[in-house]
Symmetry: C2
Subunit: 113 residues, 2 copies
DNA sequence: TTGACATATATAGATTATCGATATATTATA
DNA sequence: TATAATATATCGATAATCTATATATGTCAA
C-alpha cells in the first residue's frame, strides 16, 4: 500500500536518530535499513535524507566523518551524540503520546457500549 | 507535554472525518471534541480546521449546511458523505500501517536477543 | 570503449500541512 | 461601552518531504 506522504511528515528525524542508536551508519545504508526494518513501509528518498542529516548535524545531534568504501565513492558516516540521544528519547516520548491520542480518537467513536 | 506540531502533520483529515462518523458537527465543536477525545493532546486551531473543512467539502467527503444557534452566530454543520466514509476507512488503514511501521523501527533496535 | 546501472552524496524548487495573526459577527456580562 | 466567549473565515509564514537534477565512482555487458 502506498503511504500518504503527508502522514509520514515529521517523524523521519526520530527514525533516523533511532537507526543511529545501534551504531554509526552512512546515508544510503539508512535508507535501506529503514525500508527493511519497517517491512517495506518507509521509502525515504535521498533528497529527503541528506538535508535532514545536515540539519541534525547543525543541531549537534550527530557528528559525521568520511571513510573509504571497498568500492565506489567514500561514505559519510554519522554518529549519534549524547545530545542526539537525549533528543531521541524526547521524540520517542512525543511519538508515543501522539500515537496513543490518535488511537483514542479512532477507537472512541460512537457510543455502542 | 507540548506536541511537536510537525509530528501531527497529515492526520488531521483522518481525525476530523472520524469525528463526523458519530453525527453532524460544526467547526468549533470539533475543536473541543478532538481536545476531549485525545485527553488534551490535540489543540487543533481554527486557522487549521476551516481550510481543512473546505478542502474536504471540495473533495466531496463532507457536505455543509447552516443552522441557527440558540445564541450567537449561526453554525455551519458538516455531514460525512458516502465518499467521505470510504476515504475515512482508507485513511484509517494507512494510519495503522504507518503506526505499526514506526513501532517496528522503534522496537527493533540493537539485536540484544 | 561505450553505455547502462548501482552505489553514494548533494542541492534546488515545488508541494502541502499546519500555525499564528488577524478579521468578521453575535450575544452575554461587567 | 467594553470585554469576553462563541463561531467562521482568510492570509502569510514555517517546515517537512518529494521530485528532479547534478556530481562522482565502479561494474558489467554489448
Amino acid at each position: 500500500m502506498e503511504i500518504d506522504k503527508s502522514l509520514v511528515s515529521g517523524s523521519m528525524g526520530l527514525l533516523v536518530l533511532k537507526l543511529l542508536e545501534d551504531g554509526d551508519k552512512y546515508g544510503y545504508q539508512m535508507i535501506d535499513e529503514l525500508k527493511r526494518r519497517s517491512d517495506d513501509t518507509f521509502h525515504l528518498k535521498a533528497g529527503s535524507l541528506y538535508p535532514l542529516l545536515h540539519g541534525l548535524e547543525e543541531k549537534g545531534y550527530v557528528t559525521a566523518y568520511e571513510r573509504e568504501a571497498a568500492a565506489g565513492k567514500p561514505r559519510r558516516y554519522y554518529h549519534l551524540t549524547k545530545e542526539g540521544g537525549a533528543a531521541l528519547r524526547r521524540k520517542e516520548e512525543r511519538w508515543n503520546t501522539y500515537a496513543r491520542a490518535v488511537g483514542r480518537v479512532l477507537k472512541g467513536g460512537a457510543c455502542f457500549g
